[in-house]
Amino acid sequence: MPAGSFNLSAGQRAERKLLITVAEWSDGNTQVREILGTRTEDSSIDYNPDIETTTDILGINYTDLNKTQPQQDFDPYLILGGSKLGFKLNDIRSRNALSELSQFTVYIITAFIGSSADGYAAEKHTGCTIAYNSIGGDANVNFPISVYFSNNITNGTVDKLSDDFVFTAAT
């Protein structure tokens, strides 16, 4: 398990590239992975919290956070040569095989925690949905997508920052 602090100097800001989202799916008997965010300038995980607040007769607020529904949009998500996920999603789109959109495992890797020696902290969400929102654009074909995280989380580490990483669940 990574050490209990960020692998950053005091006051150093974590670069955006250290927060990594990776999609994984089965293609026959092989697992395929791809990092999300190539040619995307700005993307955040929105937790869409379901909040319920009540106020008692003394004016004190009590807030319950009932659930979160994490979602991450990638726009633009360009059709790029060599993109495995783009090809997969376009194939699903062409067949309108919507149920196949909910068979993804998605990793959130926080590479600002851990190291190449100890592994980088990661969250594995199984049973996620990746939906395409539109296709088209102007000069290049844009195929923006949204990732809906399942919250079926296994915490652990990945041993390296490449598609062939090994995920080890925390004990």
Binding site: K17, T38, E41, L161, D163
Partner: protein
């Protein structure tokens, strides 16, 4: 970006441009002005780093640009008002237009300069459809007309990506 990277890109563009016949057949200078007929000068531009477009995977879309200045002897002969009668100044401008056309042809066939393994060239082009006429130096004989075009190479710098 290191100085080595800058040098490499300049050399890569020179190596690329000399494959263009109209460049190869004229004297070529780099960051030096030698004002004589049919000479060409490549002048580097300062590329605004705020024009860089960073992506969330650590790659950055950048622009490399340089200006190509060409000197052509200019004739003080009025255009003959007869259809098809050639004018030296018009044909000189056509020579420079040929370079613009050559660059556009390279873009169509995706033939780009080699910026190395850490860069993926997106496109090459010129910033205008016609050469810019910068003026005439009439203190020399024959007078020299100065034309320029600016060439831009858009490339993706993947050297800072951490996902391999």
């Amino acid at each position: 970006m290191s100085l080595l990277d800058i040098t490499d890109k300049n050399q890569a563009v020179i190596d690329y441009l000399i494959t263009c016949p109209s460049i190869f057949n004229s004297a070529l200078y780099f960051n030096f002005i030698n004002a004589e007929d049919d000479s060409t000068q490549l002048v580097t531009q300062s590329n605004d780093k705020f024009a860089n477009k960073p992506y969330i995977d650590g790659s950055v879309l950048k622009v490399y640009s340089l200006t190509l200045i060409t000197f052509k002897s200019a004739a003080d002969i009025a255009v003959v008002k007869s259809t098809g009668y050639p004018n030296e100044n018009v044909s000189d401008m056509s020579d420079i237009q040929a370079l613009i056309d050559w660059i556009q042809e390279q873009e169509e066939i995706r033939n780009y300069p080699n910026f190395g393994d850490s860069c993926i060239i997106e496109s090459i082009g010129v910033t205008s459809n016609n050469p810019v006429f910068n003026g005439i130096d009439d203190q020399v004989s024959p007078p020299l007309a100065v034309y320029s075009i600016t060439i831009e190479v858009h490339y993706l710098d993947i050297s800072k990506k951490i996902w391999r």
